[in-house]
Each structure stands twice: as C-alpha cells, then as structure tokens.
C-alpha cells in the first residue's frame, strides 16, 4: 500500500436533521432524479475524491425520513461521472449477503471501477423487523457483519479474472476450472456461490467500515470518529498507529459561514427546530479556518469525510473556497479521471484468492476475536 496524500470525501445527504428547511428545493422534489444526480456532479466538480450515499435507520418525526436506495443512487450517477468514487452505505446484517455482493459488483461495472462499500452495522429493531427478525445485540451484529463482508469478498473472487475465455474452436465461453464455489459457512447463514457476475473491475471493492463495527482486517478504510476536535485528532492517530495496513479516514460534521451568516449563527437556526445528535466532531466557521483544521487532521489521518449540515448551502462554499485552498496548500491528492478507487486509495489490485485453488471452509469469527 502506498499511502495517498489527502483524501477528501463528502456525504451527499444533509447531516443536520433540519437541513431540509434550508435546502435549495422543497421536500416535494426530494426524490427527483435530477436532485440526486446534481449533488454527485457538484461534488465531482468540486474535486472530492469520493462521495458517500447514506442509508439511515428509518425514523419518524417532523424531519426528513425517506431515502432512495443508496446503491441505485450511486449507479444512477455512474454513467455521468468519470472521476469521483461512488460509495453507497449498505447495511450488512439485515440484507441478503449474496444480493449485496452482486449489487456492489454491478456498481463497480457501471462505474468502471469507482465503487466502494460503506458498511453499516445496524442491529436495531426497525431494520430487522422489516425482514421478520428480532433486533441483534451488538456482539451478534458484529459477527454477522463480519460474515457478510467476508462472504462478499469471497464471492467477488469466485470468478478469476481470466475465467471468460471465449474459445471458439473448443466452443467454450468459460473455463469452469477458473470459477469457484465460495463454500461459506457463517454463524447464521451459509452461501455456496459462485457469484452470478464475473469478478468486478477492481477485483475487490474497497470496503469502508466504521472503526470498531467490523474486524479491521476486513476493511480497507477505517472511518474514525470522536465527539470533539482534539479527541478526533488523538483517535485518528491511535487508529492509524494500531492498524498500519489500513487507511484512516476521519469523520467531520460542518456548518460553514455562508449567505452572510457565520457558521455558528446558521447552526443556531438549524438547532432551533431540531436537535442534532451526531457522533462526529463539529466544525462551525469560515473556509480559511477549516483549511487550517483539515491540514492538521490530514497529518494524522489519510483522509476526511465531510458531513455538511446542509449540502445545498455548504457544498458551494466547499467547492469555491475550501477545496481550492487545500489544493493550494498541497494538502490534497490529485483527482484523475478514469482511474479506479483502489488506485486512488493506493491499493494494488489483488489476484483472486482462489487463483491458487479452493479455500478451506470459512471459520465464523466470534465477538471477542477482534479489536
């Protein structure tokens, strides 16, 4: 792994629950394809390396609680973008691992290798009642998520890169000896394989996971968070120290000075109707100050993921003032069209794990076998 210098990502959904009150368009157009697309195109133009598409736990209340499917939003934007990586959030414990693996591999195809998986681990009652199961305790969710990531990774490798041979003389489209069974037996499910889609362009999609929710060895990018700025710096440094083979991306909420208002004033207006309960550190202020902050953060982390309170208001400020300043200071990795997310992250493209023969049956991890 060659560490990339300065990755910057953007979550495309308003981080503040009251964000919709300040959005450019009313809720009645919240689900229009144009709106979903425009945010991705704006993030690409601004020079972000990756965009994430959230899939929050369903909740009721006065604020926004609908959401288009995250993988589909990413896929929808794929043909009209060339540079930005598309990283949908997909919950790992309430979904069918075989479908998740196929959907993400397909996203990698339609984006020509710009896809990643942001793993969410949510054992909550609403999520699981939708699929007829009870809530999962944290330990069980941890094991279940580890199994889901492992089986997705196995399935992505089940077709070796050269499995499609198109040997006209022999009449063979595939070489069956290069297509493998995953033979996965986890604690609560088993999956035979092989995948129904050939190996994705990146071989393995980069997996982004919140630190502590998935065994670090199964992730490529560990998302670290802390409730305050100084704690975030310490946490990022610690996590990178303990996981030298993983990339560390720090999570930061922000409310920028915009539209003639200071960040703090905007925050007060947002908080007036809904309280913001976020696990992330919060920055409220101007672009120069944010650039200073990010400069400091990028010394201890490989990247940051920004969560703007109101995407329609904060993204133009980031695009016009913050990212150009970071570039001027040499703090950001370049953006290169038509390259894979793995390349951007400095990760080599691995050969299929099955290229040397079948793997042993996967041993299910236990909750205490990790961090």
């Amino acid at each position: 792994m060659t560490r990339p210098n300065g990755l910057i990502g953007l979550d495309l959904d308003d981080a503040h629950p009251s964000g919709w009150r300040f959005a450019a368009a009313p809720p009645s157009s919240a689900f229009s394809p144009e709106r979903s697309l425009r945010r991705v195109l704006d993030a690409e133009s601004a020079g972000f390396h990756f965009a994430t598409f959230s899939d929050p736990t369903p909740a009721r209340g006065a604020d926004e609680h609908g959401r288009l499917d995250a993988v589909q939003r990413a896929a929808h934007a794929a043909p009209l973008t060339r540079t930005i990586a598309l990283v949908p959030e997909v919950e790992a414990t309430s979904t069918e691992p075989f479908h998740v693996s196929t959907q993400l591999a397909s996203l990698d195809y339609v984006s020509y290798g710009r896809a990643g998986w942001l793993v969410a681990v949510d054992g909550s009652a609403p999520r699981h009642a939708a699929v007829g199961r009870g809530p999962l305790a944290a330990d069980d969710a941890f094991v279940e998520a580890a199994d889901a990531v492992e089986v997705a990774r196995r399935l992505w490798d089940t077709w070796e890169d050269n499995a499609e041979i198109r040997d006209v003389a022999a009449g063979r489209y595939l070489d069956a000896s290069r297509v493998h069974y995953a033979e996965f037996r986890g604690r609560s499910f088993s999956i035979k394989g092989p995948s129904i889609i050939p190996r994705p362009p990146q071989g393995q999609l980069p997996v982004f996971a919140p630190y502590g929710q998935v065994p670090p060895a199964q992730a490529d990018v560990l998302l670290t968070t802390a409730p305050a700025w100084d704690l975030l710096l310490a946490e990022a440094a610690l996590v990178r120290d303990e996981n030298p083979e993983r990339l560390v991306v720090a999570e930061l909420d922000l409310v920028l000075d915009a539209r003639g208002q200071a960040g703090g004033e905007r925050l007060a207006a947002l908080d007036a109707t809904s309280s913001w309960q976020s696990p992330h550190a919060l920055f409220a202020g101007g672009p120069a100050e944010l650039a200073d902050y990010l400069g400091e953060l990028l010394r201890v982390a490989d990247g940051v993921r920004l969560h703007p309170a109101v995407v329609d208001v904060d993204l133009p400020e980031l695009a016009q003032l913050v990212l150009p300043e970071l570039r001027r200071r040499g703090l950001l990795a370049p953006t290169v069209p038509d390259t894979s997310l793995r390349y951007r992250l400095g990760l080599r493209r691995p050969p299929s794990r099955y290229a040397a023969g079948p793997l042993p049956v996967y041993p299910a991890p236990t909750a205490d076998s990790t961090i």
């Binding site: 009251s18 919709w20 009150r21 300040f22 959005a23 009313p26 809720p27 009645s28 919240a30 229009s32 394809p33 009721r60 006065a62 926004e64 609680h65 609908g66 959401r67 288009l68 499917d69 589909q72 939003r73 896929a75 929808h76 794929a78 043909p79 979904t95 069918e96 075989f98 479908h99 196929t102 959907q103 591999a105 397909s106 996203l107 195809y109 339609v110 020509y112 609403p126 009642a129 939708a130 699929v131 007829g132 198109r166 006209v168 022999a170 009449g171 063979r172 489209y173 595939l174 070489d175 069956a176 297509v179 609560s188 088993s190 999956i191 129904i196 889609i197 050939p198 207006a269 109707t273």
Partner: protein
Amino acid sequence: MSIHPDFTPSRQLQFGVFFQGVNSGTVWKLPQSGSQTDFLSFRRVAQTAERGLFAAFFLGEGLRLREHLARVHELDVAGRPDSQTLLAALASVTHRIGLVATQNTTYNDPADLAHRLASLDLLSGGRAAWNVVTTDNAWTGANFRRGGYLDHADRYRHAEAFVEVALEIWDGWRPGALASDSRGSTTARRWLAPDSVRSVHHEGQHYTVDYEPRLPRSPQGRPVLFQAGDSPEGRDFAARRADVIFSAHPGLEDAIEFRRDLVSRTIRAGRRPESLKIMPASEFVLAETPAAAREKLAWLRELQIGPQQAIAYLEQFWGRPLGGYDPAGPLPDVEPAVETTSETRGSGFHGAKARELAASWRAEAAEKGWSILEFVRQRNARASRSFVGSYSEVADRLAEYARIGAVDGFNVSPWIVPSGLDDIVDRLVPELQSRGVYPTEYAGTTLREHLGLEVPASSWA
C-alpha cells in the same frame, strides 16, 4: 375473426428488448460479439431501443450459476449484473424507455425488494417494472439465508402474498404529503404531513414484515408488474395481478389461443381484459429477401448450437458424460444414468422421464437419418420463437397480429450484443410504422403511458 366479444384490441404493437445475458441464444463466437458485462453494451442496446421507440428494456435474473454434470456450465454466455443496479445506471442515459427488472419472490425480502423497486421507479421518472418470478429449489436456495424453504405447490401462493405486501408498501404514503415549500423556514413545519404514512404489517406462512414505507408514489403510481409463468396457476396469478405477460407464445395460432384464455381469466378475476397486456418472447432473423433470411437462419443456428452444445444438450437428459460420441454420428446407444432427470441446474430441464425420452429420440433421429448435431438443432428450431423473413414480409405478419389483437407487442431477444437491434430499429420499425401498427412517438414519459396502462388509484384518495 374476433378474439372475444368483451375484448377490444388496441391494434397497436409495442416492442420490448430482452437483454438475455445467459444461455445459448446469444452468439458469442463472432468478432462482432461484444462484451456481456461492459456497461457500454447495455447502454448501446438500450439507446438503440429508445431510438426505435421501444416501450421497455428487460433484464433477466438467475441466482445461481448454471451447472452441467456437477460443474459450472462452460459453453454458453454466463455472468451478468444485478438487474436493478444496472437499470438505475441506464436510467440516467435514457429518457423514455421502460426499465424492467426480473426479481425473484423466493430469495428476496418483500420490504427490501419493494423499496428498491420504488426507488428505481422514482430515479427513472416512472419507468420501472418488476418481472415477478418464483422459484422453489434448494439448489438456488444454497446462496441465501433461508435456503430452500418453499414447496413447489406453494410458490404462487407465496408469490402472491409477496406481491400484496409490495403493493401495500407502494401505497404507503398519502399522495401530496411532502411539504411543497420549506425555504428558509425555521418554524416547526413538517417535512411530511402528519398521518401520511401507513405501516405495513404482514404475518404469513413464510415471513413476517413490520415496515414503515420510505418512499412516495412515482409519476406512474407504482412499478408496472410483468409476469411470465405459463402454468394454469401462473396464468391466474397474472390475471389477478399483472399488467403485462411476458409470454412464451409468439406463433399466431398459439398467441390467439393464449390471448383468449387470458381474456377469460382476466374477466373472471374482475378486471378489464384490456388492462393485461401480452408481449411474447421472440427472436428476429431479417434480411433483404426471404431467401437471404433463411440462409441467415441456418448460419445463426450453427453458431448457437455447435457440436459441443449438441453433446451437452443430450448430457442434460442422459445425466452422464457423452463426450465420446461423435456429434456427426447417431444418438448415443447407452442408457441415461437416471430414470428421471434431477432437480433443475439452471437449465430449465427437470423431472423429464429420461429413459423413455432417450428411446423416443433415438427412434426419431434414426427414422429421419439425423446425427446428434442435426437432431439437437431440429429440436431447438421446433422450440424457436423466431420471425424469419424479409423486412416487409415480417412486417406484414406482425401487422396481422395487431389487426387480430393476438398480442400487444413483442419482447425481442437480440441474438447478438450489442448490435442485435440495429436492423430491427432501422428497417423493421419503419415498415411497421408505415402500416400504422407501431407508434411514431412515445405516448408520454412513463412506462404506463407507453403501454396504455392506467395509473393505479391510491387507496388514500
């Protein structure tokens, strides 16, 4: 000739395109045979179809890779993307064409699948459809959490309960409940009007769902429902629930009989017979002259069924390797390894009486003097759904279907990717237009509008 006194045909045809992605129908052996996974192939086919005013672009699904004699089947095209992910990508590079995803009711969770289909319907501006399929075998179940849990006899009951849950989820939001003005407001205004979401609770034999719908209705109300089952249960299911049948009856007599049957079943189910559209699967082999088309057909069949495929075809029934037999020689004299062929291996054959079949095939091939290769090609031709002829000849035949009202259109399976629609769009469509049986512009922006289907009423009205 009238189909049925209570049925008024539209006398128009629509085309859909079925991007097959697996099996022997797609020729991969030519230099111009393109990628089956590169997005550009899908994009090219969908955009060509849209240029030809096709109503729909259709993707299939198979949830386990086809096997042959206990290993992965090697001879045919295989490996394809998830249909909804691919269609979401196509939604941003097409503007009118409907996007049909085949999705299985057995190996999906109803809330998850209904949510994803609603999402695709919104992202495409009201162009999404779901081709409802149901499977029951444990062989496919080995890729899923619940394994093979469904009895063959239960599959339509299960599928129908599943569809009912989906319909409830799609009707879960009061229309117009999203706030239409929010700008700069810091007052306690609500994103969604109160009491505008109805939770869905379902407790059935096979699953329990407790779910709060997360999306509003789309511009076409909800996704269009396609259905392809051909058994009596499948037909009744379609008559009650489907908007479109993707049928297996493209021959004229067969199509008329199928339409009559479905008209009766639809009326019995309490629906207008015109509300269920029929689009048979079909293949087109076209050329300037009838003779040239026949030559092209022979060439195509050779490409689709080579010597290796012919042996493999027999092996599916014999249940044993037959590699030692000469494709140019007579049918194998050895007996099949089993009395009855085993559970499906993704090939569509199961439960055949193998030994009886082998004996009758041997006799037929001997009588006609056919080799293995000739025999298998003949069988394939018999099962064929092809329209073969010159452009004007085939257009005349299709116009006859429209005049009688035998079908509402055809779901075209191109036999080569990505150029397989070019002659249909460039040559056949204008012939049909000049006969007044094919649209000259899209009827609207949604799939329902293209197909002449009504927007389903909301239960909140």
